[in-house]
């Protein structure tokens, strides 16, 4: 038996503790130990972006982070995007209104990534959105309505 490591981490402001294997990825721990399944795992190799989260504010693929590295870190996932369930983030709202999602498996990762973009660049061009989201594969939408949803949310957020 391998010795499992104890980690404590903050996810969306809540403190969690768990035991994990030394080579276990953060997405695995989020999903399978903490049962926070909003973060998706489409490839485990950094290619699809479905596992996008914020790690101390940085946008990263949680499949490329070791769970043990998360010790003492602040993590933000899709579950933290809506602090109150009756108040959606503008991105969430526009994804719903413009139909920026079809099957929805890519959606949590895309929302987390888009939120990071808009914090950094409140007025991105279409090209900037497309390149920022290049790490988030979507096979359903052809990206058109995803880009438009982000644009609409950005516009609304700029107006404040």
């Amino acid at each position: 038996m391998t010795k499992r490591s104890h980690i404590s981490l903050s996810v969306n402001g809540d403190e969690y503790e768990c035991l994990c294997e030394p080579d276990q990825s953060l997405v695995d721990v989020l999903r399978n130990e903490l049962e926070l399944t909003g973060t998706k795992e489409g490839c485990s190799t950094g290619d699809c972006g479905a596992c996008s989260i914020r790690l101390d504010g940085d946008l990263v693929c949680s499949c490329l982070v070791l769970a043990v590295e998360a010790e003492g870190k602040e993590i933000e996932t899709i579950e933290g995007m809506t602090p109150k369930s009756d108040e959606l983030h503008p991105l969430q709202r526009h994804f719903l209104e413009i139909n920026g999602l079809q099957c929805g498996i890519c959606t949590p990762g895309i929302l987390v990534a888009a939120k990071a973009l808009l914090e950094k660049n409140p007025d991105p061009t279409e090209t900037e959105i497309r390149f920022w989201l290049a790490g988030n594969l979507c096979r359903c939408t052809g990206y058109d309505k995803i880009i438009r949803s982000v644009q609409a949310a950005a516009e609304e957020m700029r107006k404040g």
Binding site: L96, L101, P108, L137, Y143
Partner: protein, 762 residues
């Protein structure tokens, strides 16, 4: 009451209140908050992790499998191999299915499962896989289907004989079938032609590329009841096939579908589910199997790769006089590529009197082909539309006019025998010609391509229930899968029929115990078929609402009508009664008379064919062969867009999948027969920065067999895409490519050839 199949009730001038609007889909909220439960998102108490050991060889006899060391590892709760599966005759449907799930006599492709483990953790399971000892006798393999047809090629199954063979009927072969499809007299047609174009094409297999890997949980209880949770496009088909290969009665297998993270045809057949069931049975605990992305590429179905020749002839005035094709489709190690769609769809939309098509389905040591939007058609249309374009160019006719000249009209009888009602092909071509895109000059250095496509659209066996709750709100139980928004469209059709706001309707995908058989969600059938069944069910409810009102008012039933969601007296003569809403009646009568519900099961017919035209602009880098798609417009006949945004989404997604297939996606094998690009990084699906917006023009030529005029919309969008990109590339560089994908190295070689021949445009 007449069935909806006889009386659709289609009314072209109906004042629709819900259909044609864009309400937020009811399943959307859970998907933007992360609460929606996809295949891998469920857990059961005591659940074990299942992992699959796969063959590293493309073709090998499995001499022995020793699992004893794995079984001895602490934490391993069950091991399953071929010995645990009931024997099913090789070459039969269940025989092929069970062998694809778990290799039996031989491993037939890189990634073919040979054993599986259930263990207390992923780590233990992975370790146990390494302890399984498989003794292989490696056999020569064959990857390319054209090679596989040649005499002396390695034979996959000694029992295969070519169905429809014209020679050597008794010889061992990899060709499962030779299929001939003919109309008129092709030779005579070519004699009539002023111009004949003949070209050879090929296409590499591509993967459906859904972002959610297959995932399932199976729980086999001691009394023999099996609960299966999985992401699937076909819960009932899974159940029935699980029953067939595992010898368990259908009523003992209950399949509950999860939310589906994309399928596109790839989740119409199972992979891990039967294995999880057997592991669960042996371990007496629930077992979850989630495929890794590598396993998805190595172990699940790509689409059929092809190799084919197209010959077409036309007169100087543009009339196509004959068409001929000779095609090879790869199927992987077992039959079942659905290649028969190609002869029926490849030329269909043009009124060609003389057609002669020969198609072969061929086995080779590749992953078993699975369906993908319009199975086996887009990769052939790539060639057909290339030849059509070349003919138009040769007679100096506008490519859209050429297609209009040959376009089928209403009432056309197809090569497969159906006679169509009203169709929208001519209208889509006209709208393409009138479009802003077509009328904007091509930018310098770019090329423009046009192409068209057709898909049958399907109906099929469908069962669903519509229930009125005591408060008058509506719940609907369906047994089809929602691949991208059918639930909201179904809610909308029910709301329209019942005259209530769509928010009062909720649709749930129920388990297989709860409804009768529903055919797979595929072929653009679901919104159409379930729509029919649900409107029929709603009508049954309306009849009951009228009955109850008549009883309450003590008037004859025909004195009561249902209008705008209200039951009211048919005329003042009937009496002066306050109209009642659905809620009024339900509140008053549910407890006394029982609930009101409508239930319908039928084999839905009347699907209207769909057509699309694509206009694509591309820029090809002269010195590297890289292609950028700069503008994309799709014109598609959708019958009636129930939820226009959803329809647009289908069209845009399909177009971009086609762009990927056109430019980069392919399976690459090494000399050893192993798949070399089993990951997204090297498989190269389009990312957001690779593609432009996709403009859509939705043509609405209603299908009168449907109460709201609907046609399926899911398959057509992919059909013309690679052809359109191919024609655009040809326009840009001077020679039309004939091989998919049109990857940079191939295009650079063509550019050099074009320059050498003095036809390079640039």
């Amino acid at each position: 009451m007449a069935s909806i199949l006889e009386e659709s009730g289609f009314n072209p001038s109906a004042d629709l209140k819900v259909v044609g609007t864009n309400p937020v889909k009811h399943d959307g909220l859970d998907k933007v908050t992360g609460r929606a439960k996809f295949g891998a998102d469920a857990f059961l108490p005591g659940m074990l992790v299942g992992k699959i050991l796969r063959s590293p060889h493309a073709h090998a006899i499995i001499k022995s499998i020793d699992t004893s060391k794995a079984e001895a590892l602490p934490g391993v709760k069950a091991v399953v191999t071929r010995d645990d599966f009931p024997e099913k005759a090789p070459g039969s449907g269940p025989g092929d299915m069970t062998r694809n799930v778990m290799a039996r006599e031989k491993a037939l492709y890189d990634g073919h499962p040979v054993a599986a483990i259930a263990a207390t953790s992923e780590r233990v399971a992975k370790k146990a896989l390494k302890l399984i000892e498989v003794e292989y006798e490696i056999l020569p393999h064959v990857i390319d289907p054209v090679e596989a047809m040649k005499p002396g090629a390695p034979i996959l199954h000694d029992y295969i004989r070519t169905k429809g063979a014209v020679e050597n009927e008794d010889a061992q072969t990899n060709v499962t079938e030779r299929m001939v499809t003919q109309l008129g007299d092709a030779d005579a047609g070519f004699e009539d032609a002023d111009i004949i174009v003949e070209r050879s094409f090929d296409s590499a297999p591509m993967h459906q590329g859904y972002i959610e890997p297959q995932a399932c949980i199976a729980d086999y209880s001691e009394d023999g009841q099996v609960e299966v949770w999985c992401c699937t496009q076909a819960p009932f088909v899974y159940r029935d096939r699980l029953s067939a290969i595992l010898d368990i009665d259908c009523n003992k297998i209950n399949v509950q579908q999860s939310e589906l993270g994309g399928g596109f045809g790839g989740k119409t057949g199972f992979y891990g589910e039967p294995i999880a069931i057997l592991l669960s049975k042996k371990a007496s605990a629930a077992v979850k199997i989630v495929l890794s992305r590598i396993e998805v590429f190595r172990g699940t179905g790509p689409v059929s790769g092809t190799s084919y020749t197209i010959k077409m002839g036309c007169k100087k005035d543009g009339t196509i006089t004959a068409a001929q094709a000779n095609m090879v489709f790869q199927s992987g190690p077992y039959a079942g590529s659905m290649y028969f769609n190609a002869p029926n769809a490849m030329f269909t939309r043009y009124d060609i009197k003389n057609v002669d098509i020969v198609a072969y389905e061929v086995l080779s040591n590749r992953q078993k082909v699975a369906s993908f939007r319009a199975p086996c058609v887009p990769q052939i249309v790539f060639g057909v539309e290339g030849v059509v374009d070349e003919m138009a160019r040769k007679i100096k006719m506008d490519p859209i006019d050429f297609r209009l000249k040959n376009a089928c009209e209403d009432g056309h009888t197809t090569i497969y025998g159906d006679t169509w009602g009203p169709i929208g092909f001519i209208e889509t071509l006209k709208q393409a010609k009138a479009s802003d895109h077509y009328n904007t000059p091509v930018k310098p250095g770019e090329g423009r391509g046009i192409s068209t496509g057709f898909w049958f659209n399907r109906g099929g066996e469908t069962a669903a229930s519509l229930n009125l709750a005591p408060d008058g709100t509506v719940t609907i139980a369906i047994g089809t899968a929602d691949v991208a928004g059918s639930r909201i469209s179904i809610s909308m059709m029910a709301a329209e029929e019942l005259g209530i706001p769509v928010d009062q309707v909720r649709v749930k995908m129920v388990d297989t115990n709860s409804l009768g058989f529903n055919r797979v969600t595929a072929g653009s059938r679901t919104t159409f078929s379930v729509g029919m069944v649900i409107v029929d069910s709603a009508r049954k409810c309306i009849a009951e609402l009228r009955r109850r009102a008549a009883e309450a008012w003590d008037v004859p039933e025909d004195g009561v009508i249902f209008e705008d969601g209200m039951v009211r007296p048919a005329s003042a003569n009937v009496g002066d009664f306050e109209p009642m809403s659905i809620a009024d009646i339900c509140k008053k009568t549910t407890m006394s008379h029982g609930a009101i519900s409508g239930h319908t099961e039928m084999n839905v017919t009347g699907a209207g064919p769909g057509f699309a035209v694509n206009i694509v602009d591309v820029k090809v880098d002269e010195n590297t062969g890289r292609t950028d798609v700069t503008r994309y417009t799709v014109i598609q006949d959708v019958g009636k867009a129930i939820h226009p945004q959803q329809v647009e989404g289908q069209i845009q997604g399909g177009a971009i999948q086609g762009v990927g297939w056109a430019l980069n996606e392919e399976y690459i094998y090494g000399e050893d027969g192993r798949l070399q690009n089993a990951g997204f990084l090297d498989y190269r699906m389009p990312v957001a920065s690779d593609v432009p917006m996709v403009d859509t023009i939705m043509v609405e030529v209603p299908n009168p067999a449907h109460p709201f005029g609907l046609r399926g919309v899911g398959e057509v969008p992919v059909v013309p895409t690679m052809a359109a990109v191919g024609n655009a590339v040809g326009d840009a560089i001077g020679i039309r490519p004939t091989s998919l994908p049109m990857s940079p190295p191939k295009l650079l070689a063509i550019i050099e050839q074009a320059k050498a021949e003095g036809v390079y445009k640039g």
